[in-house]
Symmetry: D2
C-alpha cells in the first residue's frame, strides 16, 4: 500500500481555531526547531523510532524517515482567535515559554496575525472575545471561513491545508436530531439554528474545502453522524477528540498496567489545579461538564467493570478541576488510586504530576496535523481511529467501542504505519527466536 501514498511535496498549511497557549507554543516551537534552537521533544512523528521486522534484524528507523511526512520547514501556520494579538503578543501573555525563547523567533511570531473568529458567547461564558466575525447567520459564517481558508492557501502558495481545533471547550451538548444526518444539518443551517456550535462551523467549512479536521477539545463537533457523513461524501479525513495530556495521559498509562495484572480498583480520585485560560473556562459548570464526560469514560472502558465485576464492579471514579491562578499554565494533577490485591487486601497509589499543559499539548498538535495529512494523501477518509493515541475520547466507527489503553493505541498507530508502508505487523509472539535457539543447540 506504501506505493499509493502521495508524496508530501510543496507546503502544508496548519490552521488553528484558537491561537492561545497551545497554538502559540506549537508555532514558536516549530520556529525554534527550524532555527536549530530546540528539539521537538514529545513529538512521536519527529523523534520516535518504529521497529520493523524481527527483533534481531535491528531495523528501527525514525518514523519521519519511514513514512512520507511533511517536513517542519514546509509548514506554514495560521489561525483564528477572539483576540487580535499577534502570535508573539499572545505567547507573551500565555507565559508558557520563556520570554527569551519567544524573542529568538520574534520576527516569525509577529508575522502571524489571527483571522477574526466565529464566536458565540453562549458556548463559552467565561470569555469575552473582541475580534469576531460580523456575519449574522451560521451559513454566512461558514462561507466566511471557507473564504479564509482559500485566501490562506493562495496567499501562502500552499499545496495542502489541515485544521486542528485548539480553541476552548464549549458548553455541554448532546448529539440531537439536528446533527443526526447531513440532510438534517443542512436544514439546521438553513434555519440558522443557534444550537450549531462555532466549532462545527469551522469543521463544516473545512470539509467542504476538502481540508482534514482534527478536534482537540471535548466538543462534539465532528463526532456527530452528519459530519461523518460529510467527511465520506467529500473524501476527507477527520479525527477527534480532546488532546490527551496530563492527568488523563497518566490514567491511560497506569490503568492498563493495573488491569494487566488483574489488580482490583475500588476508587480513583483525580484532582487538578491549573491557572491558565483553559482553567478559567472550565471554572464554568457547563463547560466543565463537557470535559468531565470526556475524562470519565476512560477508566470505564479500560477496566470494564461489567466484564470484570470482581475487580472493577464497584469502581468509584471522581474528577475535579480547580482554577488556581498561582500555577498559570503549570497544571498539577494529583491522583489517589485505591487498589486491592490478593484476597482483597488494600493498597494505594498516589501520583502527583507537575506538568505543563501546553508543553504536553504542542507536540500532539504537530503530530496530529502531520499524520492526518498523511492519511489524506493515503486516501484514508472519514474517522481516523488510529490517531486515538493522542485523544482522550477517541472517535470510532459507529457502534465500535473506543480503545483507551494507550499501549493498544500505540500498537494500532504503529501497525497502521507499517500497513501503509507494506511492512509486517508486530505481534510480540517471538517463539521463533527460541525455535532457532533449540536448533542451534541441538
Amino acid at each position: 500500500m506504501g506505493n499509493n501514498v502521495r508524496n508530501a511535496s510543496g507546503k502544508l498549511g496548519i490552521l488553528m481555531p484558537g491561537l492561545g497557549a497551545v497554538a502559540t507554543t506549537v508555532i514558536a516551537g516549530v520556529a525554534s526547531i527550524n532555527k536549530g534552537l530546540a528539539q521537538p521533544i514529545g513529538s512521536v512523528s519527529q523523534l520516535s523510532r518504529i521497529r520493523l521486522g524481527k527483533r534481531t534484524e535491528d531495523r528501527n528507523p525514525l518514523i519521519k524517515d519511514f513514512v512520507p511526512l511533511a517536513k517542519l520547514e514546509d509548514i506554514v501556520f495560521g489561525g483564528w482567535d477572539v483576540y487580535a494579538d499577534n502570535v508573539y503578543e499572545a505567547a507573551s501573555v500565555a507565559k508558557v515559554l520563556e520570554q527569551s525563547q519567544l524573542d529568538s523567533v520574534r520576527d516569525v511570531l509577529e508575522g502571524i496575525k489571527p483571522m477574526k473568529a466565529v464566536f458565540d458567547r453562549d458556548f463559552v461564558k467565561n470569555l469575552d472575545g473582541t475580534h469576531i466575525k460580523s456575519e449574522s447567520t451560521r451559513r454566512e459564517l461558514v462561507e466566511a471561513v471557507r473564504q479564509d481558508i482559500r485566501d490562506f492557501k493562495k496567499n501562502n502558495d500552499l499545496d495542502r491545508i489541515v485544521i486542528v481545533w485548539c480553541g476552548s471547550t464549549e458548553k455541554y451538548m448532546e448529539s440531537g436530531d439536528a446533527f443526526s444526518s447531513l440532510a438534517k444539518l443542512e436544514e439546521a443551517f438553513d434555519r440558522n439554528d443557534q444550537q450549531i456550535p462555532p466549532s462545527m462551523v469551522y469543521c463544516y467549512a473545512a470539509l467542504k474545502e476538502g481540508v482534514p479536521y482534527v478536534n482537540g477539545a471535548p466538543n462534539l463537533t465532528c463526532d456527530v453522524p452528519a459530519i461523518v457523513e460529510l467527511a465520506h461524501e467529500e473524501g476527507v479525513a477527520i479525527a477527534g477528540k480532546d488532546f490527551k495530556t496530563g492527568q488523563t495521559l497518566m490514567k491511560t498509562i497506569v490503568a492498563p498496567g493495573l488491569h494487566a495484572r488483574a489488580l482490583g480498583v475500588e476508587g480513583w480520585f483525580s484532582t487538578n489545579i491549573l491557572g491558565n485560560r483553559d482553567g478559567l473556562v472550565l471554572d464554568n459548570p457547563d463547560n466543565f461538564k463537557t470535559k468531565e464526560v470526556s475524562k470519565l469514560s476512560v477508566l470505564e472502558e479500560i477496566l470494564n467493570g461489567e466484564k470484570n465485576p470482581e475487580l472493577y464492579g464497584d469502581l468509584y471514579h471522581k474528577i475535579r478541576i480547580n482554577y488556581y491562578p498561582p500555577h498559570g499554565d503549570n497544571k498539577e494533577s494529583w491522583d489517589n488510586i485505591d487498589i486491592f490485591g490478593w484476597l482483597g487486601y488494600k493498597m494505594q497509589i498516589k501520583i502527583n504530576f507537575l506538568c505543563r499543559d501546553s508543553i504536553l499539548a504542542a507536540p500532539i498538535v504537530l503530530d496530529l496535523a502531520l499524520f492526518i495529512d498523511l492519511a489524506q494523501r493515503a486516501d484514508m477518509h472519514g474517522v481516523q481511529e488510529w490517531l486515538s493515541f493522542y485523544l482522550k475520547a477517541p472517535q470510532t466507527a459507529r457502534g465500535l467501542p473506543a480503545e483507551h489503553d494507550i499501549f493498544k493505541q500505540l500498537m494500532k498507530l504503529q501497525n497502521t504505519l507499517r500497513h501503509i508502508m507494506g511492512e509486517d505487523m508486530i505481534t510480540h509472539l517471538g517463539l521463533d527466536y527460541y525455535q532457532e535457539l533449540i536448533e542451534t543447540i541441538q
Copy 2:
C-alpha cells in the same frame, strides 16, 4: 498446536524453597479461595480475560477457561525453609494476612511443615538459619533435595511438580567459568566448589528430576549457560528472574508510557522503605547489589538512551532500598521522575505507592507455577521468555535483549496462549472495521 497440550489431570505439587512471607501468603490464599472465603485478585490466570478474534466478535473468555491449567483445588503445597515453623506459625510471624484470615484455614496451614533447607550463610549474611540439611558437599545436598522431591511426589500422590524459588536474595555473583557449560558445572560439583549458591543446588536437583523451575529472586541460578543446557538436555521448562512487584512494576508501566509519547527523561530517583525479612536481608550491601543490578536494567532497556540520545541519553537512574521496621511487609515506594517535553521544558512526576510486598507477589507465584506447568505439558522446554511479564530481569535466549515493557510482555504472554491454542494473533490494526463501515455507507 492446542491439541498437543497434555491435559492437567491429577494433582500438581508446588514446592517453594523459602516458606516466608510470600510463600505462606500464597498457600493461605489458595486455601481461603478453595474454601470460598476470598478471591484470587491479582492472578491473571484466574481472573483475566483474553480477547479472541475481532473486537466485534466479543469473545473474551477467562484465561483459565481458555487454556488447560491445573485447578486450584488440585494443588498441593510444600517447601523448604531455614526455620522449622509450620506454615501457620510462619504466616503469623510474617503478619501479612490478618490473623483471623489465617485462623480460618489454620488446619491446612499447620499441616504444611518445611523440609530442611540447603543453607550457606556466606550467601545471606543477615539471616541465621536453624533448620538446615546436614549433608557436607554440594553434590550430597543435590541428592538430598532430589530425594525430597521424589518423597513429596509419592507421599502426596502427585501427577506433576513445579518449583518456584521464594527464598532470599543471595549475595552478588557473576556468571564465571564454572557455570559456562554443563560439563564445567559437573566438575564444580565434583570438587565441591563453594561458589555454587544454594539456589543452584535446588535448581539442578529439580531439572534432574524433570521438574520445571521458576526463579523469583534476582539470584543468577538458572540464568547461567550450564543450567540452560541442562534444561534442554532434560527437556524441562525454566523461567526467571525476580518477581516484578511494587516499584519495578510501576516503573515498567510508566516508563513505556513516557517512551510512547517521546517524552524525555533526565532523572529517575526511586526509594523504598520496607520492614520485612526481605528488607533485613537487603540491608546487607552484598545482597542489595544483586537486587540493584536486577532493578537498574529495566529503564535502560525500555528507554534505550543509545537509540534515543535526545530523549534518554543523559538519564540518571538511582535506586535505594531502606530497611524501615515500622512498615513491616507494607512496602512503600516513592519515585521522582524528572521528565522534559516540547523544546526541553521540564516537568516532574512523583509516584508514591503504598503497597504490600507479599500481596503483590503471591498471585505471581501462583500464575508462574500454573503457566510453567502448562509449558511443560505443551513440550516447551528451556527458557520461557513469554513469562517475562512477571519478572524484573527476564531471562531470554542468549544474545536476545530482554523486553521490559510490561505491555509488550503482556502481548507476548497473550499471543503465546493464543498460539498454543491455535487462535489468531492480535495486532490492533483494525482497519477492517472501517473498510466494512465504508462499504456500509456507500
Copy 3:
C-alpha cells in the same frame, strides 16, 4: 488562684448532641481505656506534660496530675441522635474502630441509648432523621432538652454535666438581628422563629441549666452576642467552634512555621477526600459554606497579608472537600503550598495526610469536656479563649482577633493552667542560664 478551684469530686456527665462517628469513638475509647485495653493517645489532658519553673528544675508533671480534672472513671456518657441506634450499633456502622475493639466493651456501649434529637431538615439537607422530638415550637424543644439534662443528672447521680456538640454542620447563616442580644433572642423564641438552629436550642437549654457548652462544629450557635450574654448572666463557661483536626490542624502547624521564617506564600490549595456521614453532609453546598468560612480564616489571621504585604499580600487560598465513599472515615487531605524565598524564588511544599477523622477528633472532645469542667469549677465564665488550641474558628472576646497559630494557642493553654495553679509564666527568654554560666567561668 489554684486554691480557688473546686475539686473534681463526684461524677461528671458528658452529653453529646450527635452520637455518630466522633461521639461513639470517644465513648468506646474511654471505656477501653478504663478497662486497661488502650491508651488515650492524642489527649493532652491525659498524656502531655507541662513544664514548670526553669528548664534546669526538671519539673514536668502530667497535666492531669497538675490540675484537678475529673477522672476518666468518673465520666458518664450520654447524648441525643436522630437515629435510635445504641452506641454499639452506631459505632459498628461508623466503622472507625475495629469490630473486635467494640466487642470488648460491648456491654458498656449497648447500655447507652440516644435521647430523641432536636432536628430540622432545613438545616441539614442530606440527612433524614427518624428519632426526633415531637415538640412543635423551639421554646417547647428547649424545655424538653432541659428536662433531658435534669433527668440524666438525676438518674446517673451526677455531680456536674458538660455538653459537647458532636453533631453535623448546619447550613450557613450569619448572625442576624434576632441573635444580637439576649432580649432579641427571647423574642425570637416567643415567636417560634424558624431561623433558630437546632444547635442553639441545645446551647440555650444547657446554659439555662448552668451546664457549660462546647461547640465542635462550625455552626454559629454560641458565637452570637445573645448566647455570650446568657453565659455571663448564668455564670457558665462556653467555648467554640469547630474541632481542629486533619488538614486545618496541619495548616495551623505549618503556616506559623513559614511565617516564623518570613517565607512568602503565594498560593495554598487544600483538597480533602472523605467518605463518612460528615462528607455526605458537606456534599451539600449550603453546609459546605459554613465549613469553608470556618476553614478559610485560619491562614488570613496567621499570615496577615495586610501587615506583611510583600510576603502574603497576594495569597490565593482555596479549599475543596470531596465526598469519596471508598475512604470511609479515613479522611485524606492533600495540600499544595506555593512559597517563595530569598529574592522571590519559588518553592513548593506538598503535604499528604492520611488521617482518620474521628480518631483525631475523639481526644479533643475528651479534653474540651474536662477543661471546660475545670474552667467552670474555677469560676471562669463566658468565652474560654484558652481552649482555642482545639478549635478551627476560635471564639474570642468581641473585637479581639482570634489567634490561630497552634503554638501560641498551646502557650496560652499552658500558661492559663499555670496561672490557675499559681505557677510562673514561661517566656523562653532564658538569659539567666547564661548569666550563671558566666559567673561560674569567671
Copy 4:
C-alpha cells in the same frame, strides 16, 4: 537594657569561609536588594514584625526598626575559597540564581575575589581545592587568617567584622582531649596537631581578633570547651551550628505540632535528593556522618521518648541524603511520618518539599550576621543560644539541653530582642482581655 547597646554606625564586614552556592547567593541578593531589584524574603531581621505590649495596643514594628541593626547598604562582603573564581563566576557555576539576575549586579560580584583558603583534603575528601594557603603549620595558618581579617578591615574602612562559616561539612570528629580546654588547644597548636580542623583555624583566628563567629555547618568548630573559653576570655559572641533549612526546618515545624497534640510517632523516614556541591561532599560517608548526627538529635529532643514513652518510646528515625545531579541546587525532601492517635490507631503524613537549598540558607546567613553583630554591641559574649532559631544543632551552655522546637526558639529570639530593648515579655496568657470584657458587660 536597650540603652546599653552601642549603635550600628560605620560599615560592617561579613567574611565567609566558603564562597560557594550559599555565600554567593547572599552576596548577589544583598546587592540586588540594595539596587531595589529584589526583596529580602526569608530574612526575619528585614521583613518580620515583632509584637510589643498587648494585642490590643497594635504595636508591631519591623524588627529592623525596633533594634539597632547594621543597614544592608553598610555591609561589605568578603571571604575565602578553595577555588579562585570571583563571586560572579562562582555564582554562575552554582546556578542558584538566574543568570540575568547575576548580570544585573555583575560589577559588584566581580569585585569580590576570594582570599586563599585554609584547606586539608583529609577533612573533605570529595573536593580538590586549588586556591590554598601555603603556610605549613596550623599556627602559621592562624596568623595568616588574622592578617587577612586585619587587611580586610583596613582596606574597606570597616567599623566591625563578623565571620559566618559557609564552607563544607568536614569529616566526623568527636570533641577529644585536645579541645577540652584553651590550654590544651594551645598545646595542640604548638605541636601542629593535624586533628585541628581547618574550620577551627578560622574560628580561633576570628576570636583572637575580637570578631564574632557563626558556624553554619555541622562541624564541631566552636562547639568545644576550648573555643567557648576563648570566646569568654576575648569577650566575643559565638553561635552554631548548622543552618536549619529544608527538611530539618520542616521537621522542627511539624514535630512540635504533633507533640503539642500528644499524637504518637512510631517512625519518621526522611530522604533527600540534591545535586549541588554540598550533595557531592555528603556522598562521602565520613562527611555524611557529621551531618547525620546533627540532623538526628532534633526529633529526640522535641519528642523526648524518655519522658513520653507511650507516645515516642519506640520512635524509629532514619535519614538519608542522596546525591542526584539532575536536581542541582533544587533540593527535594520527602518525609514519611507514621503517627498514631486515639487508642493507638495509625495514620501517615507525607511531606514533599521542593525547596532550593541556597535560597533558604541565604537569609539565614544575613540574619545571623546582623544579630551576632547586635549581640556583640550589646556586650553579650559567649554562646548565643537565642540564635538557635536558625540552627539545626544549637549550641547551648554546657549541660543545658538544646531546644529544637522552632516556635520556642522563635519566642526565645523575640523575647531576647524585647529584653535587649527593655520591653515586656509576651506570655500569650491574655486573661486580662476577658477581665476587661466582663467589667464592660457588668
